[in-house]
Symmetry: C2
Subunit: 92 residues, 2 copies
Amino acid sequence: MLKYQARIYVTLRPSVLDPAGVAVQSGLKHMGYDNVEQVRIGKYVEVTLDAESEDAARQQLDIICDRLLANPVIENYCFELTQLSEAAGVKG
Amino acid sequence: MLKYQARIYVTLRPSVLDPAGVAVQSGLKHMGYDNVEQVRIGKYVEVTLDAESEDAARQQLDIICDRLLANPVIENYCFELTQLSEAAGVKG
């Protein structure tokens, strides 16, 4: 088994309103930053997992994102995968 | 003025407990994914702003992150900056 780290980004689809982002932008305006044009807030998730191969890890992460981390109706996701080590459980 | 897009990642410091991440990991375990070792949840923020230069944009983003987007006591942040266009307001 190989150990991978996935950096997952979940963002609202561009057509979906983001009230939290609008609130942050308005806060920034009140702080004097009126050069900020748009703020969109999403989620960032780091997942460490063991898998047989990069393909297996990607397949599993797709399911995890679709079923748990993102709401496919209003959100998009993408992820980057990094291999952490050759074999799991050889630390220490 | 130049237009920039910043992709900001706010993560909990490694020493800080992440109950939401633990909950997601436990949910994944219940779904049968017991090869997931760790889940850490953070924020992902996209900010579009006008600035005179990349340096000016970076300086401003540091202040915005420190004062509004991240809690420096328990969170770290980093960002990537991309220049979107030569001049602001030439769309359409």
